[in-house]
């Protein structure tokens, strides 16, 4: 298993990560429910994490993994605050549909 990495070329990880990212983007554009959108954002973050770890393993540099660690930290904090915001919006408006939130204009 120690040599598992070199049998799987790095390119494949690149494609996988890109595909996951694009699925996340499509999810953000596709759905109207704010919670699902937040989850798709998490998906995007994770695709990036995957790519970073892949590069880190292939170059023997553990900086990538430390970076992933910090991305996780930020993602956690962001989800906490984001969901809190969502709940407070739900209390005021009564739905989580983002099309209802259209006041951000002059």
């Amino acid at each position: 298993m120690e040599q598992a990495a070199h049998l799987v070329p790095l390119n494949w990880y690149l494609f996988l990560s890109t595909f996951l990212f694009c699925i996340g983007v499509m999810g953000v554009l596709f759905r109207r429910n704010a919670i699902i959108i937040l989850m798709c954002i998490e998906l995007m973050l994770n695709s990036v994490n995957l790519l970073l770890v892949a590069f880190s393993a292939y170059s023997g540099n553990s900086d990538g993994q430390v970076f992933v660690f910090f991305i996780m930290v930020v993602a956690a904090a962001e989800v906490a605050v984001g969901l809190a915001l969502l709940i407070s919006i739900y209390r005021n408006i009564g739905s989580t549909d983002i099309d209802v939130l259209n006041k951000l204009k002059w």
């Binding site: 120690e2 799987v8 996988l16 699902i36 660690f69 930290v73 969901l83």
Partner: protein, 165 residues
Amino acid sequence: MSQLLFFTLSAMTILSALVVVFTRKPMYSVLSLIVCFFTIAGHYILLNAQFLAITHVIVYAGAIMVLFLFTVMLLNLNADSDVPKSGKLRIAATITAGMLFITLLASIKSTTLGEFAFPPASDKGLVQHVGQQLFTDYLLPFEISSILFLSAMIGAVVLAKKEKH
């Protein structure tokens, strides 16, 4: 052998991701995202990043997704509350995402990856190594992330508190 593992895990990741995006029931979305995270943890183990794999499971699948579940149950979301976007917008969304994918692929194609040593050092993902890096080179961000959590906690509590009338 490892290639087989890779393909299986990738297939499960992509499948669960698609379910997250396309299913109409929010609960199924959340659950399939959890499956997605587990498969990604499997990828991490394949890449010998053991510390990260465990952390990933604990933090994401254990904490973040639980938060999502709680919120979904709190807001009592079900299939009726999910109104889909109009057909034109969906087509536009698909096309945009597709364009992004193609552009990214083209970018990847036009770059050349550097040479990587075979076999890669396999002990870089172990806890000792990552821990060493965290506590020597990256000490400052490590400490600051605790302050970040503190502010996030305070923010979340303040925002989600019920207002007293």
